[in-house]
């Protein structure tokens, strides 16, 4: 009795304390020199750059009135890592959970953060935009002033890592998705940045434990991160508290977050280098002028000299996140009810452009946002066919254990992000090096694999080159969720699948119905709000759906055979003519030579006349 009263009181207390954070944001363009070397157009928020950080407490409500201030581009916003339970339409990916917001339109992202704590970020989910600066941190405190955080610390600091290009996505994407980029080489960034600048100075106090929230908000390269002579104790990854794990170096892929505890030294006489380093194995080529290391400064004493760049002997000793253990010690979920197996590869289609594929399908947006197809399909909603044959859509039943097996046939590392969930990373194979002649290695279910008892949980994880991983999660969040490579270039190439989770549960939930604002923005961009992927009301008629280009035919086509036949024929005819000429009798060789030779011999004959 007492307990229940106490519980009620606590709940009430929370509700009373829950705040509403309202933001009015208008996108736009402005020129900023972010990395101190080049001024370029960046996406601004109300004319300012960088975008503001959001800091709320668990249970608070966030209301973002996002106005598209561009003149020629649509936009959307995604709060990365938030579960959005019952609020799928606030998740952000265009043509998945909502229509794109047309220029001049405003969409209200209105959601509470009930189930997430820790380090998150928000970014545009419209292709290329977050690389142009449309992104910011989203920190969710666990209780007021983060009082429920499980570990002690004195001060809190956050550091946002990224790479930076001197060209806009608008310039980079067309040359990336081009016949003349046949290997799909990702554009090479010009710099690594930190908190939207270079060579940051972090003033620290001695003998203080800092909670350092690290985010990689880049769109491409993973970064190694270390601080000279300081170790870091990982306590949170992607919003999941972990058991303490101390390391000298972190490896952070794009979209991953780490919270680490750093205790400063007693001695304030010296300053230390904060190092970022490209994972240069991800770069197609390394231009001479590219600085692979970026140095920032952990400053104990501003009058002491700035630290020199810090070197390490090896990059191999970074923390392998596979071995992290969640603070809550969630046991590995049981055997899966459903397994999705994805084979990742990159290939060129008939136009010569390089695309990314899951099971030979490169994600091609449907004509109707998938969530709206779910809501309008009635009982057909559990049939994946209606979501289109080119969208890689999988339908999941409610509250099942799902295994997602990913076989990477590509020789690159890829960081994968699942919307709306954290997953358990139950298996990750070692890299298989193509330079050593190793072949891609697919996950073999028939072999026995020992999964960790308490697998690491997070929302973004990388797969090794030519390797595989297995993610396990519960389908406990009805909605339409993207699972995609978080390298923005690979998103452009279509490295995405869609999970329709519990479609009937979505239909029956009143909060999941598209609100008026959501329907209005569709009207502006001319997208219908019901029908299958092709926009047809007959759900099993996909005529007119968006499809990928054709594959390149293997071997000889008709025109190749014609070309080779003609070439052979020409060769044979030529040789025959040659043989005919060669074997032809020459009746008067001397005369011919006399005719052909044109050396001035006349004088000889003239001379010889003397003797006759």
């Amino acid at each position: 009795m007492n307990l229940s009263i106490l519980l009620t009181f606590t709940l009430l207390y929370n509700v009373v304390l829950a705040k509403i954070h309202t933001f009015n944001w208008t996108t736009g363009w402005g020129n900023y020199d972010v990395d101190g070397t080049f001024e370029r157009p960046v996406i601004t928020c109300n004319g300012e750059f960088p975008w503001p950080d959001i800091r709320v407490a668990k249970g608070d409500r966030i209301e973002i009135y996002l106005t598209n201030g561009f003149t020629d581009a649509n936009t959307t916003l995604h709060a990365h890592g938030l579960f959005m339970k019952g609020m799928n339409q606030m998740d952000g990916p265009p043509m998945v959970s909502q229509c794109p917001i047309a220029p001049g339109d405003t969409f209200l992202y209105n959601f509470t953060v009930d189930d997430n704590v820790g380090t998150y970020w928000y970014h545009s989910h419209t292709l290329g935009q977050y690389g142009d600066g449309f992104k910011g941190k989203l920190i969710i405190e666990d209780g007021e002033n983060n009082e429920n955080f499980p570990y002690e610390y004195d001060e809190e600091v956050s550091i946002e890592l990224s790479e930076w290009y001197h060209k806009t996505s608008e310039e980079l994407i067309p040359s990336f998705m081009s016949l003349f980029n046949p290997t799909g080489a990702e554009p090479i960034p010009q710099n690594l940045i930190i908190n939207n600048t270079k060579n940051l100075t972090w003033d620290v106090k001695p003998n203080t434990t800092y909670l350092l929230r690290l985010l990689n908000t880049g769109g491409f390269v993973s970064q190694y991160f270390w601080i000279e002579d300081h170790n870091m104790t990982v306590v949170e990854v992607d919003g999941v508290y972990t058991e303490k794990n101390t390391t000298d170096m972190l490896y952070i892929t794009v979209a991953q977050r780490y919270s680490v505890l750093i205790t400063t030294k007693d001695d304030t006489s010296k300053n230390y280098a904060i190092m970022q380093k490209f994972d240069d194995t991800m770069l197609d080529k390394i231009p001479k002028e590219l600085e692979l290391n970026a140095t920032s400064f952990m400053t104990y004493n501003s009058s002491a000299p700035k630290p020199e760049e810090s070197y390490v002997d090896s990059l191999d000793d970074y923390l392998d996140d596979f071995y992290l253990i969640p603070y809550d010690k969630v046991e590995v979920y049981g055997e899966p009810d459903y397994t999705i197996t994805l084979d990742l590869k990159m290939d060129n289609l008939i136009s010569g452009v390089n695309y990314a594929f899951f099971n030979n399908i490169t994600y091609t947006s449907p004509k109707i946002p998938t969530l709206m197809t779910v809501l309008s399909a009635g009982t057909d909603a559990n049939n994946p066919y209606i979501y289109g044959t080119n969208t890689n859509t999988f339908v999941l039943n409610r509250n099942e254990t799902i295994d997602l097996v990913l076989n990477n046939l590509d020789s690159g590392k890829h960081p994968f992000h699942l919307h709306g969930h954290v997953f358990q990373l139950v298996w990750r194979d070692r890299p298989y090096d193509s330079d050593l002649g190793e072949e891609p290695h697919a996950y073999n279910e028939t072999e026995s694999h020992t999964f960790p008892q308490y697998p690491m949980m997070r929302d973004t994880v990388y797969v090794n080159p030519q390797s595989n991983f297995v993610l396990r999660f519960k389908s406990d969040n009805p909605g339409v969720w993207y699972f995609h490579c978080h390298i923005e270039w690979h998103m452009v190439q279509g490295l995405t699948i869609v999970l329709v989770e519990d479609p009937y549960g979505i239909q029956s939930d009143p909060t999941q119905q598209i609100n008026q604002n959501g329907l209005d923005i569709c009207k502006s961009v001319g997208v219908m709000t019901s029908g299958n992927a092709a926009g047809n009301d007959d759900f099993f008629n996909l005529k007119g759906q968006n499809v990928q280009e054709n594959f390149i035919p293997g071997g000889f086509t008709a025109k190749g055979i014609v070309a080779l036949t003609f070439s052979c024929l020409a060769g044979i005819l030529g040789l025959a003519t040659l043989a005919f000429y060669g074997l032809m009798d020459i009746p008067d060789a001397v005369e011919k030579v006399a005719d052909d030779l044109s050396i001035p011999l006349t004088d000889i004959v003239d001379t010889s006349t003397h003797f006759t």
């Binding site: 046949p182 040789l575 005719d595 052909d596 044109s598 010889s608 006759t612």
Partner: protein
């Protein structure tokens, strides 16, 4: 693999040049046998030794020069061509095509080649310096060792020509290395020598002709392939320039070539990467991507060759090009007009006179030529009608042939 140890183009160039040198030798040896062979065996032997020494010395010198030349080329090649490699490979392919095309057809006319050398050699043997003072310079040595100097200079000249050809043809083969030279050069020399041997010791003329037809056929297959490869390299260069990398070296698969220009493509058999296919590439110009340009180039090459051969056949049968009674093949060569060769051409009678002179060539006991004794030369115009001299010429020709092929 093929490019590392055996460069096919090099083989054929060496073979061809060797053949030419061998013809010179055989012509010279025939001369000697004819003029003194029976009269003075000792002198004959001495002169034969001179001929061989001259040829050998010339050969060794140009082998040295060739080796140095090629070595130097490969030493500096990277620095010179580095980034524009495909463009240069294309240019070299085209140059090699032209060179091989030009030298291939004359090879088919072995007897014509022999005649050419007979006349050339005859000229050098009987030539009388115009200025008196020249006698006091090298004349003694020159005269005494003419049977050494003549083969020495001709072999050296042919050899240097071969060096230039070899360098030109060799570097056009993808990934060719200096190590790809010795073997084809060696084999080319042996093959050329063998033909010379057969030539001198009387293989039947028709079987020799068949042999020449086959080897010339292969030479033109290579040449057509080179032409096609030249076009391919230009296309590849264009694509690589646009992509900023060398796509074709990254593999066989999609993206390794410009699909919009491709007529066919197969994901294997890349001559740059797969063993075995590079030989196919060197011989026939095979590429696992057929670009429109390279396929067209291949077909057009053969078309042009067929047309040229057709014109030559016509000319040999009728004495002029079709539709133009006065026009001959050589008149189409701009050099013919520039050098004003027409004025210096030998008339048939002069030709006859020269050959007669040669047949009556005599040597003194030192091996010196006594050309003053020549009294058989008939003045042009003084030997009756054209018709007679032509008959004589044919008769003479038949005799010469007999000498060369049957002795």
């Amino acid at each position: 693999m093929g490019n590392k140890v055996f460069n096919v183009a090099v083989f054929f160039v060496v073979f061809r040049e060797c053949l030419e040198a061998v013809v010179i030798l055989s012509v010279l040896l025939s001369f000697l046998k004819q003029s003194i062979g029976v009269k003075d065996k000792k002198l004959h032997k001495k002169l034969v030794i001179q001929v061989w020494t001259g040829a050998a010395t010339g050969f060794i010198i140009c082998l040295g020069i060739g080796g140095g030349f090629i070595g130097a080329y490969y030493k500096y090649q990277k620095d010179i061509f580095g980034s524009a490699e495909d463009l240069w490979e294309g240019v070299f392919c085209m140059i090699a095509t032209i060179m091989i095309s030009m030298m291939g057809i004359p090879m088919l006319r072995m007897n014509k080649m022999q005649e050419k050398w007979r006349v050339k050699i005859a000229r050098s043997l009987v030539e009388v310096p115009k200025r008196k003072r020249d006698y006091f310079k090298l004349s003694f040595i020159a005269k005494r060792y003419s049977m050494f100097l003549l083969p020495f200079i001709t072999v050296l000249r042919e050899g240097l020509e071969a060096v230039v050809f070899v360098a030109g043809a060799g570097i056009t083969t993808q990934g060719s290395q200096a190590s790809a030279y010795p073997l084809p050069v060696f084999v080319g020399l042996i093959a050329g020598g063998l033909v010379g041997f057969l030539l001198y010791y009387g293989a039947s003329r028709s079987s020799l002709q068949v042999f020449l037809v086959i080897s010339t056929g292969i030479l033109y297959l290579i040449s057509a392939g080179l032409f096609s490869r030249g076009a391919w390299f230009f296309e590849n260069y264009r694509f690589n320039k646009a992509t900023g990398g060398d796509a074709s070296e990254s593999g066989d698969g999609n993206g390794s070539y410009n699909i919009r220009q491709a007529v066919y493509h197969i994901n294997c058999c890349n001559p740059e990467l797969d063993n075995g296919w590079d030989i196919f590439n060197a011989l026939l110009g095979w590429q696992n991507t057929g670009y429109l340009a390279s396929v067209l180039a291949y077909n057009l090459y053969w078309l042009c060759l067929i047309i040229v051969l057709g014109l030559m056949i016509f000319e040999e049968k009728r004495g002029h090009l079709p539709f133009c009674r006065e026009l001959k093949m050589k008149h189409l060569n701009p050099g013919y007009w520039i050098k004003n060769k027409k004025a210096k051409e030998l008339t048939e009678d002069q030709q006859m006179a020269l050959l007669n002179k040669i047949d009556n060539l005599e040597f003194d006991e030192n091996g010196e030529i006594i050309n003053e004794l020549n009294n058989a030369v008939t003045m042009p115009g003084s030997s009756g009608s054209d018709r007679d001299s032509k008959t004589d010429a044919n008769k003479k020709d038949a005799e010469v042939k007999t000498h060369i092929f049957e002795e």
